[in-house]
């Protein structure tokens, strides 16, 4: 490995959490250069936030992965997601600040530890920061309903030294209808849509915010249970139709799934990414 930081991190996973080492090795082997590039950035930012942040995030990652695996196993058994409404999820999870902080730090590490995960958005804010590193003149405004997300995204942006070009505000994505229309050149919206009761509204919000010719990057989870997933997408075409019904053109799409599944799995959990364009 070309990065001692990443090598040390992988060794820590193997020593402390051996059950999770196979998945990490799998992600690394799939694309060593890409894994190392993303992991070294993410771990550097994480380490710059506060003492012990990497150890805390690693434990949070293990707990998050365990929770996802259990949710998927119960989904296999029950045939439906555990929660059906935002209210249920809010009461049992979103309203618990400490649980949400750990959840987000765990998700932050999935960006390179899960080879099938394509997250690039607010929430923890990591991929928005990544975008700012690539586009030196760009500015970013992030909206998230969770106070944990706002705090963590702000912390990561500061650690990555892009806090002068980024701003995070606590707000429900579906309230963004009240913002001025056509204000964004690009929108990133990652793994939010499956948390909503009415996902079609999100696509209409994206259309309204984009300037004509603007681009959106949208990701979503299909047949993938989590304690806070509400809307069960089962086919890739469902996301295509939602986008097209909101007058957004699908320019590119990719759907990926983990190589290892639960024993005798009926459902294959999938992550899907779409690049959308608003017509001029």
């Amino acid at each position: 490995l070309s990065s001692p930081l990443v090598e040390g991190f992988i060794n820590t996973v193997s020593e402390q959490y051996p059950q999770y080492a196979i998945g990490v090795q799998e992600s690394y082997q799939k694309s060593p250069e890409r894994f190392t590039a993303i992991a070294s950035k993410y771990l550097t930012w994480l380490g710059a936030t506060q003492n012990g942040a990497v150890d805390r995030a690693l434990k949070a990652y293990v707990d998050f992965t365990s929770s996802v695996n259990f949710s998927q196993a119960r989904y296999e058994h029950d045939g439906h997601y555990e929660n059906k409404s935002f209210t249920e999820v809010y009461e049992s999870h979103y309203s618990k600040r400490e649980e949400m902080d750990d959840y987000l730090w765990g998700v932050y590490l999935t960006n390179f530890l899960w080879s099938h995960h394509l997250d690039i958005a607010p929430g923890h804010g990591g991929w928005g920061v990544w975008a700012l590193e690539q586009k030196k003149n760009a500015t970013l405004t992030g909206y998230d309903i969770s106070p944990s997300s706002i705090a963590i995204a702000t912390e990561i942006a500061r650690a990555a030294k892009v806090d002068d070009r980024s701003e995070y505000t606590e707000r429900d994505a579906l309230d963004l209808f009240s913002l001025d229309p056509e204000i964004a050149d690009a929108v990133i919206c990652s793994f939010l849509i499956e948390h909503l009761e009415q996902p079609d509204k999100l696509l209409h919000v994206i259309n309204q915010l984009l300037k004509p010719g603007g681009t959106a990057f949208l990701t979503g989870a299909l047949t993938a249970a989590q304690v806070d997933h509400i809307y069960e997408f089962s086919k890739e075409s469902e996301l295509f139709i939602l986008a097209e019904d909101a007058d957004l053109r699908v320019i590119e799409s990719l759907s990926v799934n983990p190589e290892r599944l639960l024993a005798k799995a009926k459902f294959t959990p999938k992550s899907m990414a779409l690049i959308l364009k608003k017509p001029t």
Partner: protein
């Protein structure tokens, strides 16, 4: 306890020769990844009629930790 667990491990990992000791860990069993861990835990839940939370079982170091946890539930 060890005998019951041995049966479950042998069944989940499909290995009739598997010998379970308190020290047995995922480092000794190449197939013991995070997904097999869930299968193992669900099989234990059924056998002992107990229920675990995902965070209780996410960072168990070895079979000894698992036995201790089962005993707190029984």
């Amino acid at each position: 306890m060890i005998e019951s667990l041995t049966e479950i491990f042998q069944d989940v990992f499909e290995d009739d020769e598997m010998d379970v000791t308190r020290e047995l860990s995922a480092q000794d069993v190449p197939a013991w990844d995070s997904l097999m861990h869930v299968n193992l835990i669900l099989a234990i839940e059924r056998k002992f009629e107990i229920r675990f939370s995902s965070s209780e079982v996410s960072s168990l170091k070895n079979a000894g930790d698992l036995i201790d946890l089962i005993e707190t539930k029984s």
